[in-house]
């Protein structure tokens, strides 16, 4: 699904952000990326959705290689992924349903299909009743749910989440995390960067720990992937 082969990323101003990272996220797997700020978690995610290209090494996502895919073709890759951020990144002047529909409209989904798919995605995240609400009328947890609905509406193979609970209180964190688990249970791989070690300890999902741009721990050898568990 997502494969990193000896991937290093160096930025001209800040230097080495990731060093020789190698791991593979399997289909249907859930994995945490943990580590202190600046450890390279977000860099791994940005490389996974081809916002950045490796300085050396190769990233392969759903059969597409970072060394072969042209910039103009990145949109094809993004349509197979769902991406969620700490700051939700919703359009403030559009309702929940318009924010979710936006993801379908921009990839040319036929008009007739948009409304039912948006409704399904909002139902999946438990926000069908707030379809007409604007982001400012929603709580942080609800906004993140709308962002997750937007990420899910294209039926992605994997969900990439960068600190999705970082801005939420304890209750909303639990609720959003449960939603991500449900999504994973339905077969979507999840790669989630988080600072929240309590969240990590609460489950037995795979954990990839980073420090100073290096993978210092990967529990994949000791814990089987979700899809492989009995």
């Amino acid at each position: 699904m997502i494969q990193f082969f000896n991937v290093s990323k160096e930025f001209p101003r800040t230097g080495l952000a990731l060093s020789e990272a190698t791991f593979r996220l399997h289909k249907g797997e859930f994995a945490f990326l943990t580590g202190p700020s600046g450890a390279g978690k977000s860099t791994i995610l940005r490389l996974a959705y081809f916002e950045e290209r490796p300085t050396t090494g190769e990233v392969r996502v759903s059969g597409m290689s970072s060394s072969e895919l042209r910039a103009s073709e990145v949109s094809k890759l993004r349509r197979r992924l769902g991406i969620v951020f700490q700051d939700f990144r919703l359009l403030e002047d559009r309702t929940s349903e318009a924010n979710v529909a936006f993801a379908l409209e921009v990839i040319g989904t036929p008009r007739a299909q948009i409304a039912p798919r948006v409704n399904r995605a909002l139902t999946q995240v438990g926000l069908a009743a707030k379809a007409k609400a604007f982001p400012r009328e929603l709580s942080g947890g609800e906004q993140q749910r709308v962002a997750i609905a937007r990420a899910l509406v294209n039926d992605p193979l994997a969900l990439i989440a960068d600190e999705p609970t970082g801005n939420l209180d304890e209750r909303a964190t639990r609720s959003v995390f449960q939603l991500l688990r449900d999504i994973n249970s339905a077969g979507t791989a999840v790669l989630m960067a988080t600072h929240d070690l309590d969240l990590v300890r609460r489950t037995d999902y795979r954990t990839i720990e980073l420090d100073h741009g290096k993978i210092v721990f990967d529990s994949t050898e000791t814990r089987p992937a979700v899809g492989e568990r009995p």
Partner: protein, 283 residues
């Protein structure tokens, strides 16, 4: 395309002040350019009307048969540079002189003034070189005594036209460049105001072409509106000046009006395309 039109309209409604600012910036930039154009157009017209008076007068020897002069005039009329060649008989020359000199009309007696062939030149052939060439050719006709064409005056007129042309071109280019820079900066502001939307579009898999489209439509529409507003402002300014300064100024013809509006539309279109393209390359 439907979504692109909807998004372009949405952008107008979402940020009406910014949209109005873009349209008025385009309008005022084009207005400044149009005002300059109008001044240049009127100077050109004034110079053209002065230049129309460029004329070669070939004086004919006394006693030349009228048929010979008529044939020569017909021959001269066939020169590529010549617009018309007219025979002026001695009597006609006398009448003209008396008319032009008014109170001194009685100083001329019949037969004093020679007959002539008055030659007018085509536009584009009124420069000193062409005039001199035609004059030299006419001078070779056997019965032509003398050829006059105000060599000094034509040279000065030509120099003035060249100075006006070069100055006009340089100022016009400077105005156009300033207009493009100001318009470009305004359009860039509208792109930056929507940078979050652009980044989300990219994240959910929109192609760069799809992202560009509403901006191109918006830029085109703003360019057309700006062009129309600039035209209106120029017309009002021209009419006001005519009213208070009591002169009749030349205004742009339909072709130039269409050219101006199309120019505004193209600046809006390419300015938006450039600004959004630059933004997409950076993010």
């Amino acid at each position: 395309m439907r979504i692109a039109f909807r998004d372009a309209l949405f952008a107008f409604r979402k940020a009406p002040l910014l949209s109005a600012l873009s349209v008025s910036t385009i309008a005022f930039s084009l207005f400044a350019f149009a005002l300059f154009g109008l001044v240049a157009l009127n100077i050109k017209q004034a110079l053209d009307s002065v230049e129309e008076r460029v004329e070669i007068r070939a004086f004919v020897a006394d006693g030349t048969p009228v048929e010979d002069i008529v044939n020569a005039a017909l021959e001269i009329g066939r020169y590529g540079e010549v617009q018309s060649a007219t025979l002026v008989t001695q009597d006609q020359a006398l009448a003209r002189a008396r008319k032009e000199l008014g109170e001194f009309s009685d100083v001329f007696e019949p037969g004093v003034l020679p007959a002539s062939i008055d030659i007018k030149l085509k536009p584009g052939s009124r420069d000193p070189r062409s005039v001199g060439k035609v004059a030299a050719r006419v001078r070779t006709i056997a019965f032509v005594d003398d050829v006059r064409y105000g060599e000094e005056w034509i040279s000065q007129l030509h120099r003035l036209r060249n100075i006006a042309g070069v100055t006009g071109l340089a100022l016009g280019l400077a105005f156009a460049v300033v207009a493009v820079i100001i318009i470009g900066a305004t359009i860039r502001m509208t792109v930056l105001a929507r940078s979050k939307e652009i980044s989300i579009m990219r994240l959910v898999g929109a192609t760069d072409g799809f992202i560009r489209r509403p901006f191109l439509i918006e830029g085109f529409a703003k360019g057309v509106l700006g062009g129309l507003l600039a035209l209106l402002l120029t017309f009002v300014a021209s009419a006001t000046l005519e009213h208070y300064l009591h002169f009749r100024a030349l205004f742009f013809d339909d072709r130039l009006v269409a050219f101006g509006i199309a120019g505004g539309a193209l600046i809006g279109l390419f300015g938006s395309g450039y600004a959004v393209g630059r933004h997409l390359r950076r993010v």
